[in-house]
Amino acid sequence: MCPICKTDRYLSPDVKFLVNPECYHKICESCVDRIFSLGPAQCPYKGCDKILRKNKFKTQIFDDVGVEKEVDIRKRVFNVFNKQLDDFDGNTDEYNKYLEEVEDIVLNLDKGIDVQKTEEKLRTYEELNKQLIMTNIERNKQDLESFEQRQQFEKEMKMKKRTLERQIEEEERMNNEWAKREIVNRLSSADDATDIIEGVKNTVKLKKSSARRKLEELNRVLKNNPYSAANNSGPRKDAVPFTPFNGDRDITPKYTYDEALYNDPFIQDLKDRKEFIASGFRPDYVYKRVLTEAFMGLGCVLSDELQASQMATSQTS
């Protein structure tokens, strides 16, 4: 129900509500026309003294006004703060710091903390980095375009592929039918049945349809697709794989693994039981795990190491 003119959905089911990003109060379309067509006016809500303009009204996308507001703010802020990882020469720390800063601005604007200062910050940044912002907008547009192009291309290819496949199916069916008929025809005039059947089948095999050839070609094109190729061989391939502790595990174990020599009645009993095998039980996993644990930390001289680390921390502090 519109709180201004009290129209509700029951009587006029196609009533539309609009909001203004100034105060996000819901007003129905006819009210907006009525109140604001003569120029800017105050928000008709009681106690709201915002001056609204008609051209700023828009349909609400999200049910929650808070979400709607945040999305609007984000759109605005991201239009200005539109740097990307490439702008930092791949320095992830710097980039994360930058993202953090942007998030702070969004939060401040959203929650109304230091709005004046934040707006000021936004403006100065925009002025200082006009050039960069423009180029980034340009680039984003290009990215979007190329993405769309690629999607278009892939879609077309898929369509072509499907039609070709259908053609091939059709042809195959025709061929089979033809073969059957041909066999019957020839059998009526000759007498060596097996020879005839073999001969007809061979001719069918030799008939490699043009559609099939086309499909093969298409597949080849798809494989060296310029778009997907450009996409896949990005920076990802030659990046260093992640290792949690900045190094791989030592590959020489401290033990010699020899399953034949182990006599472990408990594990050997489990090894042959179906319910254990079915769930993926393997004795070598168990053996290797316990052996690894046996030598894990054996070389740590805790008392010395802790003493040393304590000394180190006390020196730095």
């Binding site: 794989p241 502790f245 791989d248």
Partner: protein, 350 residues
Amino acid sequence: MSDNPQSKNGAPAKPANYRRLTDDDLFRHSSQYRFWSFTPDQLKQKRIEVNAHAVVSVEEDLRKFIAEHRDNLSDEELRTIEERAVPVNMDEEVKLVNFYAKKVQAIAQRLNLPTEIVATAITFFRRFFLENSVLEIEPKTIVFTTIFLACKSENYFIGIDSFAAKTKGSKTEILKYEFKILENLKFCLMNHHPYKALHGFFLDIQVILHGKVDLKYMGQIYDRCKRRITNALLTDVVYYYAPPQITLAALMLEDEALTTRYLELKFHGNTETENPNQDANVSINFDKLISMINSCKDIIENAPPVPVEEAKAIMAKVLYSRNPQVLLNKLKRKNPSESPEDSPDKRPKT
């Protein structure tokens, strides 16, 4: 990423200060190493601090109590409070915790829990009282909670309802301290127990001493060592040594000749034929290892059991210092009728 040197053939370059990680390094990354390993001095220091902190607050309360009731207290009562309501010191605390840790073990075993879970429960319990004083939280209130938590953290699920029924405890009482315990464990639930290491050594001994050792005998040793390890978990060696070292100490206690022989064959070559790629503290020095194991062994052997009487006396002290009123009530009950059946050394139920 772009400042990493990259080789021409597209093979990934190694990141800066890359190195091979030994299993020891993995252990150094574990929470057990980072949070729950101490030198004897550090451990003592920590316990003294925790105790001192609690004692201050308990004494504060005591003074307040005396100040509030000054008018109603007779000289005798005051004297009794001064005498008997003394906060426990650090040694007594350790004894009490060890006594209850033993209780945790007994109860967990009575519930037929697997060995590792019993061990985890003990570990959780003892770690909790590294951060807290018995003066702040009575040990018996968290006994069941630690067991319940250990079951959960070791993937041995028992519903709280059935757990409460089994232990005949109340559900809310068990759950009440669960989060506090988790908090004091610094939310680190992974434990490296010496049992897996024992299993590993059990296998490795069979390889190193192949044909020289009776397999049946090995089985017996394995079972006995398991028991020894559980007892070792009740001592401070868990804070001073890494799990495999404790295992070796247990093996040493069980059969010194066998263990020494194994270690000699396994590690004695290490000192001379030092691998140039490994740096000095990674490879295992035989003499160092032996001396470590021996000192670990000594601690395990010399851990005195806490007698029930002593534990009860300490518990009474804790109770009195926290609630002097209880002491007074008892005094009153005793004094008016010096009846013979009210034995003077009757202690409150612990």
